[in-house]
Amino acid sequence: MLDSKIPKGPLNSKWEDYKGHCKLVNPANKRSLEIIVVGTGLAGASAAASLGELGYKVKAFCFQDSPRRAHSIAAQGGINAAKNYQNDGDSVFRLFYDTVKGGDYRAREANVHRLAEVSGNIIDQCVAQGVPFAREYGGLLSNRSFGGTQVQRTFYAAGQTGQQLLLGAYSALERQVALGNVKMYNRHEMLDIVKIDGKARGIIARNLINGELERHFGHAVLICSGGYGNVFFLSTNAMGSNVTAAWKATRNGAYFANPCFTQIHPTCIPVSGDHQSKLTLMSESLRNDGRIWVPKKQNDTRKASDIPEEERDYYLERRYPAFGNLVPRDVASRAAKERCDAGYGVGSSKQAVYLDFAAAIERYGNIEVGKRQMNNVSKEEIIKLGKEVVAEKYGNLFDMYAKITGENPYETPMRIYPAVHYTMGGLWVDYELGTTVPGLYSLGEANFSDHGANRLGASALMQGLADGYFVIPYTVGNYLADEIRTKAIPTDHPAFVEAEKKVRDTINKFFAIKGTKSVDFFHKKLGKIMWDKCGMARNEQGLKEAIQEIKALRAEFWSNVRVPGEANEFNPELEKAGRVADFLELGELMCLDALNRRESCGGHFREESQTEDGEAKRDDENFSYVAAWEYKGEGQYELHKEPLVFEECKPTQRSYK
């Protein structure tokens, strides 16, 4: 039976109450308690720094050459906080409510409320660290609005908010490294969890430079390894982003929750060919001014500029007159796919739609003419003025687009297509962020806890830092208070020996196969299965096929993959092989979860569960639960359900017509 450990009492006093009653560890005892942190993104770096400050002995691991590289760095838009600096009616409750609703009522209320409560502290902490947020002329912080909300609560640093927040957490982490409280292991990859008497007691990590396997003891282990979007091969994730740490936890008894909840972002630069290695996001803010369209004629090969106005289909404006181009991410993504699948796609791949700024340029141009009280202005002059305004608003995005595609988006419409961007699912955790394995915790995108079936913009950064700075320091202490009598376990303990042997055997197995296909070959194949059958739209038949195809692909992988080089050297192909092996298992579980969830909610669209006019239909009666999957051997999983109880937010069906 899953125990989510939600404290009793009214929603808005649960966290206060918890903090007032959880166990504490005295400073002398903290010095002998060791904590392992896997991953150094916003969640991992903030956790490692905060726990180091408290006096615990922390070891932090990242596979990159420096903790500053973690993929949190790529977040563009901003971070939400219920500061109400704009006096526009924001509050902790509203942030909580927007997040639960935005998640399509599949998140746990108590966790989300706590997130909203600590959101303000995050901004305070970051400013104190020297994070250069955008400011107004009076010197105070600036805010902007973001999707899914009616208030201005998003703090930002141009289009580089993730970078600035991560560098803040990184500097706090490096300060603890300098003070000797944290030991940093760069270019190390966690390859297994070590369990002793049912508790997480350490990890096996591979030194990626020399290939040596290392045993590390910890009284507790924190998995902060991010999301698993790369199961699709093509995503906006970094090339190295992977599920390995979380998956090893799953194989050691931690349940994996809601794996099928993935977020597809509607505005990304489309795939240009088979060589494509990753996809790049174009900020959602572009939909404020861009109009999305495809030709009315199928397989139209004319250039965009040659297609007259009456032969263009502004399908979002047609289907959703009330919201138009500003429908939520999931709706916009599915509509683009529908048009492309029906043969109306544009560009050489036909897997793209236009995002057109011509109308906005003309509109802004006319506004400028009015503002400047100009007379007898030519069309060219209006366009020129309009382009200047658009450049001021979106210049950096237009430049990025031009760099990647070689096209000038001021002259020709952008081509965009949806891409996998974030994963809401992850390791199941209770209120304390503890997994089902005692002593094993999960923070940030790696856990499932706060975003339900769909994440709102500017909430990922908030959750990563909330977990690391303000939640885990309390909750892990509550566990470690009972561990003060546990001496550090020597790493020649049989459990460490056995775990290391298992890892070594797997590595040797990779080299022994000596097959004919590269790791990427299998990764791309897996990605295609996932995208076609467990992507933006899913149905029973497709998911069943996908499961069989993934099983077959996995068997082929283990008999025909070629891993070059040696185990005892820097070997990126070996690293990839291990990650893809885990994706090949996770992919199957995602399909299984999607098959089980016979409703549409948030990012999960089951074709069998839609309204008459093709919109997503949730089924609260049968599916208002967290699906937590227990690993029972390869390809075998047992489903555990955590019912979701909504005391404050009444579930309603979304409509954007």
Binding site: S46, E53, D65, S66, R68, R69, H71, I73, A74, K83, Y85, N121, D124, V127, A128, Q129, G130, P132, F133, A134, R135, G139, L140, L141, A157, Q160, Q163, Q164, L167, Y170, S171, A172, E174, R175, A178, M184, A238, G240, S272, G273, H275, S277, K278, T280, L281, M400, K403, I404, G406, E407, Y469, F470, S518, D520, P564, G565, E569, F570, P572, E573
Partner: protein, 254 residues
């Protein structure tokens, strides 16, 4: 934009590990699309090498959208290649034409030892940050964020300096292998903000001392770092670092 395919000759630095002497290897990259990124061209070459049973070229990369700072190739004598203000991962193949020969080296600097092929060890940058690239504020110490108003002009300058991605191109581009642009970007960011004032003297002194200890060279104001920086970090940060450093030297009570 018309797309085209090209055949290229690559001269790539191959070095098994830091103890190996290393050498250039000449490889052919065939049928490369002008739409590919520079790293995708390397993916294609590596795929070929793997299929031929050879060792692929090791190179650092991660986000492939120009922000993580991991990619680090010296291309035809320029850090991150021919485009200004661009990381290697954002450089695209339309910068080249059919028949070109492209020389690709790792960052060359004593303080950045080669790990393998085009991959170098930049942990010296982490140690410089450890020496003082932070504000000493524990979690929970902070006051309300709007209690510290910051002059917008200074906040903008601090942000521009903070845009540094720590890739090391400045060091690779510098004839002295100096890390002054990197160090000055962090020192400037924190010196420009009121939050950074209490530690500004010790920060400048300690970070520069660590930079010297790591074996980076001195600055002779050539400006190659600024010219090659993918984030276009300004040389004026180095001037600010020098002011901070000298000021710290005069006012230090130690």
């Amino acid at each position: 934009m018309e797309h085209y395919n090209m055949n290229l000759t690559l001269k790539v630095w191959r070095q098994k590990n830091k103890n190996d002497q290393g050498r250039f290897e000449t490889l052919q990259a065939k049928n490369i699309s002008s739409e590919m990124s520079f790293l995708e061209m390397f993916d294609v070459v590596n795929e070929e090498l793997i299929n031929e049973g050879k060792d692929p070229i090791a190179f650092d990369h991660d986000c492939r959208e120009g922000i993580c700072g991991m990619c680090s190739m010296h291309i035809n004598g320029r850090a991150h290649g021919p485009w200004d203000g661009t990381t290697t991962c954002q450089l695209h193949m339309r910068a080249f034409k059919d028949g070109d020969t492209i020389t690709v080296e790792p960052w060359r600097a004593g303080a950045f030892p080669v790990v393998k092929d085009l991959t170098v060890d930049r942990s010296a940058f982490d140690r410089i940050i450890e020496a003082g690239g932070y504000i000493s504020v524990n979690t929970g110490n902070a006051q309300d964020a709007n209690c510290i108003p910051v002059d917008k002009a200074k906040a903008d300058l601090a942000f521009a300096a903070a845009a540094c991605i720590g890739c090391g191109a400045c060091v690779a581009a510098c004839k002295n292998s100096s890390a002054m642009l990197f160090v000055s970007a962090k020192v400037s960011q924190l010196a420009l903000l009121p939050q950074g004032h209490p530690e500004k003297h010790s920060r400048a002194l300690n970070m520069v001392a660590q930079m010297d200890k790591e074996g980076f060279g001195s600055c002779t104001n050539t400006g190659a770092c600024e010219a090659e920086c993918p984030k276009e970090i300004s040389l004026t940060n180095i001037a600010r670092l020098n002011r901070e450093f000298i000021g710290a030297g005069f006012s230090s009570e130690k």
